[in-house]
Every structure is written in C-alpha cells, then in structure tokens.
C-alpha cells in the first residue's frame, strides 16, 4: 500500500517536473519572440537600407560669396547617348532614335560626369534644340546621386573665349536653394597618345545659397 502511494507520488513529481521544464521552454520561446521583434525593429532602424557612395566634394569658396566646383565629361568615353536624327554610328550601338519630324532639330546627350580628380560622381543630360517657338535651347541637368540635381539653361551664344554661360533654374536636395551660373566649355585634348580622348566638356558651377524671402 505504502509502496503504491510512493509510486504515485513519484509519477506526480515527474509530471510536475516535466510541466515546469515545458513551461520554462515556453517562456524562453516567448522571450525569443520579443527579442526577435526588437532585434528586427532595431536592425531596420539603425542599419541603412541604402548607403550611397560619396566622393569628397572639391568645392572652392569664392571671395565674394558662394562657391565653385568643376565637372568634366570625357568625350567620347563618358558619353552614354547621342540622340539625334540620321546618325551613321549611333551611340549607343543599336539605338533606334525616333524618326519623327518633331525631333528633327533636337539633340539629346547623356554623359557620366567627373569631379576635378577625374572620378565619376554623377550623370548629366544635355538637350540642344532649335525650334521656332522656344528658339535656340541648350540645357543641362546634372544629377549627383548623393547630393542632388541642378537644372541649367545655357545662353546659346558663346562668350569671349568660346565658353557658354548658363543660369541655374532649379535644383533638388543640396541644390534646392542654390542659384548661380554655370559655364560650359569644350577643351580639346592635345595629347598625342593613342588612347587620348577627343577632349572634354568642362562645366564650372558658381553657386550661392538663395536668400530666403522674409
């Protein structure tokens, strides 16, 4: 009789012990869920999903106000697109430019642009057109992924020295409140090596922060 009672007590004890272990494991599991939620939230909060590569901005501060920066596009190496009618060797090869009468006086070019250290820092588009209503149009959009974009209208007539001057019309992010001028100049490559470029388009910005209206 006593032996039987002792056996029942032992089984009860084992069952209780198992339940305690199971309960502890369940608590660990629930703690894991909470930890998983917190860790995922923290990871998404602190680890940047996008991390743009940056080159040091080579900006020269002007004595009066604002700053200047120089960009280049090596031609033809940095040219992504020449969009113009009737090209014998289209850039890029395989390009099918629309044979549309409206685009007859339009030339669209896309470039990679480099900083003064010759490192690619962005892309740019140049649109040149000669239509009856807008007249002669030359425009640039410079897009620097880590910084922002600049939209420039260039005077078609070249200045003394062969460069053209443009006015910043608009900008985004870092250039949102920047206004000023950009000069566009063709610099021929005088090197005689076989891998020399034909030249480079030089763009020099002279920008200053726009005064806020009170």
């Amino acid at each position: 009789m006593l032996c039987g009672l002792s056996q029942i007590g032992s089984e009860e004890y084992d069952r209780n012990a198992n339940l305690t272990k199971l309960s502890d494991m369940f608590k660990t599991f629930v703690a894991g869920i909470v930890l998983g939620v917190v860790a995922t939230a923290a990871g998404l909060y602190y680890v940047p999903v996008v991390d743009q590569s940056r080159e040091q901005s080579l900006v020269i501060v002007r004595p009066n106000q604002g700053n200047t920066e120089t960009f280049y596009a090596n031609v033809p190496m940095d040219r992504i697109l020449i969009g113009a009618p009737s090209q014998q060797s289209p850039v890029p090869p395989g390009l099918q430019w629309p044979d549309n009468e409206g685009f007859a006086n339009l030339r669209v070019e896309l470039f990679k642009i480099r900083n003064a250290k010759d490192v690619v820092v962005g892309v740019a588009s140049r649109i040149a057109a000669n239509d009856e209503i807008p007249g002669d149009v030359i425009e640039w959009v410079l897009h620097l992924p880590a910084r922002g974009s600049i939209y420039v209208s260039v005077q078609p007539e070249p200045q003394e020295g062969g460069h053209r001057v443009g006015t910043v019309q608009s900008g985004t992010r870092e250039f949102d409140h920047m206004r000023g001028e950009i000069s566009e100049r063709w610099v021929a490559d005088t090197a005689e090596s076989d891998d020399a470029s034909a030249g480079r388009i030089e763009l020099i910005t002279a920008l200053a922060a726009q005064q806020a209206e009170l």
Binding site: D24, M25, F26, T28, F29, V30, G32, I33, V34, L35, G36, V37, V38, A39, L44, Y45, P48, V49, V50, D51, Q52, S53, E55, I80, L81, G83, P92, P93, L95, F103, L106, V108, L110, K112, V119, V120, V121, G122, V123, S125, I127, D131, I133, P134, G135, V137, E139, V141, H143, P145, A146, G148, S149, Y151, S153, Q169, S170, G171, T172, R173
Partner: protein, 234 residues
C-alpha cells in the same frame, strides 16, 4: 540547455517573421491612389511612357541588376557613386498616344528609405523637351513601397515567379506637402514656370527574372493658367 537555445532562436525567428509580416500588412502605409493634381482648376499636361526597359530609347543601370540595359551595348553605370542610379531616355506621348517629347530620367536609391515607415524612396529628376513647346524639369522623391508590396513581392511568392494583374498608384511622394513633385520650366511656353506634378505607374505584369514586363508611367504636370500666376515655390 540546448533545447532552451533552440526555443530562443526559434522564438526570435518567429518574432522577426511576425514583425516583418505586420510591416508588410500595415494598412497605414497604403499608397495614395488619387493624385492631388486631379482636383486642380488649372490645365494639366499628361505625358505617358512605357516603363519597360526594352520599350525605351535607352535604359542603363549598374549592369548587375535584374533589369537588363537596353540597348545591350549602352554604357553602364558601374562606378561606385552612380552604381545605385538608373538613367533612361524615352519618347513621351500625349493623351492621344502621339509623340509629344523626349524625356530623360535619372533615378537614384535614396538614403531616406525607411522600411519601418513603409518608405522605399527613390530620388529622381526628369529633363523633358517638347518640340515647339519648350522644356521642363521635374524633381521628385518617389515611394515604391506600394509597388513592392503589391506587385514585386507577390511575384516572388507566385509559383510561376511572376505577377499579373492591374496595379495603379502614384509614386511621387514629395517634395511638395501634398506629395507632389516640383516642376520648373526652362524654355518656350514653360519659361519661368514653377508648378507641381505627379508621376503614376500602371503595372500589368512583372517577372522575377526580367523585372517589369508590362508597365506604363504617366506624368501629370499642372500648368497654371495665364494671368492666374504660378503656384508658390515649393
């Protein structure tokens, strides 16, 4: 002890899955489908384009992304500072489907992307020229969260590795207070223009292997009536 460690790790995996599931299903991050431009009294210029790479004049990226460059020999944007950037040039059509201009778009993944807030942000600009009319610049932040949630991720879940259906949404999320893009005119009838715009996408098919297969984009640009004055600067 090992059983406890296993329970903890399993719990963490479940917790992460529950959190990501809640983020994915969060109704507060649903993208707006009605454009603020639709309620304007001003004229609206609508410019359409096919957003599938092979329908564009050129499409280029880092050369390692899912979407192949077009044409195949176009210069790729592999340098580190432009590796997360796409460049396109495309014909823009008017509401009757006629060629109305040429558009160049640069898009870069944005560091303001915040998955916790349902923001998959791309900073982009359009450089547009419309013959006999003039030129425009559109600067915007686009939020592709709705597109990712309702088109791209379902394509991965589908056993055929593709998605088919009808999805339409405004991707423009700023910088305007109402989620509009800033528009600046450069020449012709748009010279001096300061206005707002919205870009919308309309997707019909997406392939995990090829990326967007049937997808159209539409830019709506508000043109203030003469005499009414331009919209205030954004």
């Amino acid at each position: 002890m090992i059983k406890h460690l296993f329970a903890l790790l399993f719990g963490m995996a479940v917790g992460a899955a529950v959190f990501l599931g809640a983020l994915f299903l969060n109704p507060l991050t649903t993208q707006q489908r009605l454009s603020p431009i639709t309620v304007t009294d001003n004229d609206v210029v609508k410019l359409g384009y096919s957003a599938a790479a092979e329908d564009m004049l050129i499409y280029t990226n880092d050369g390692e992304s899912r979407v192949d460059s077009h044409p195949a020999k176009v210069l790729q944007l592999w340098e580190a500072p432009i590796r997360k950037t796409r460049a396109i040039a495309t014909v823009l059509t008017d509401s009757r489907g006629q060629a109305a201009g040429i558009g160049v778009k640069f898009s870069s993944d944005s560091e303001t992307t915040n998955i916790l807030k349902g923001q998959a942000i791309v900073d982009s600009v359009w450089h547009i020229y419309m013959p006999e009319r003039g030129s425009l610049f559109v600067g915007q932040s686009e939020n592709f969260w709705g597109y990712l949630r309702e088109v791209v991720i379902p394509a991965y879940w589908n056993s055929a590795d593709s998605w088919r259906g009808i999805w339409r949404g405004n991707v423009t999320a700023g910088p305007g207070a109402l989620g509009t893009a800033s528009v600046a005119g450069g020449s012709g009838e748009f010279a001096g223009l300061k206005s707002e715009g919205v870009e919308a996408l309309s997707a019909k098919a997406y392939s995990v292997e090829l990326g967007p297969v049937a997808i159209d984009g539409e830019l709506s640009i508000e043109i203030p009536r003469k005499g009414s004055g331009a919209s205030p600067d954004l």
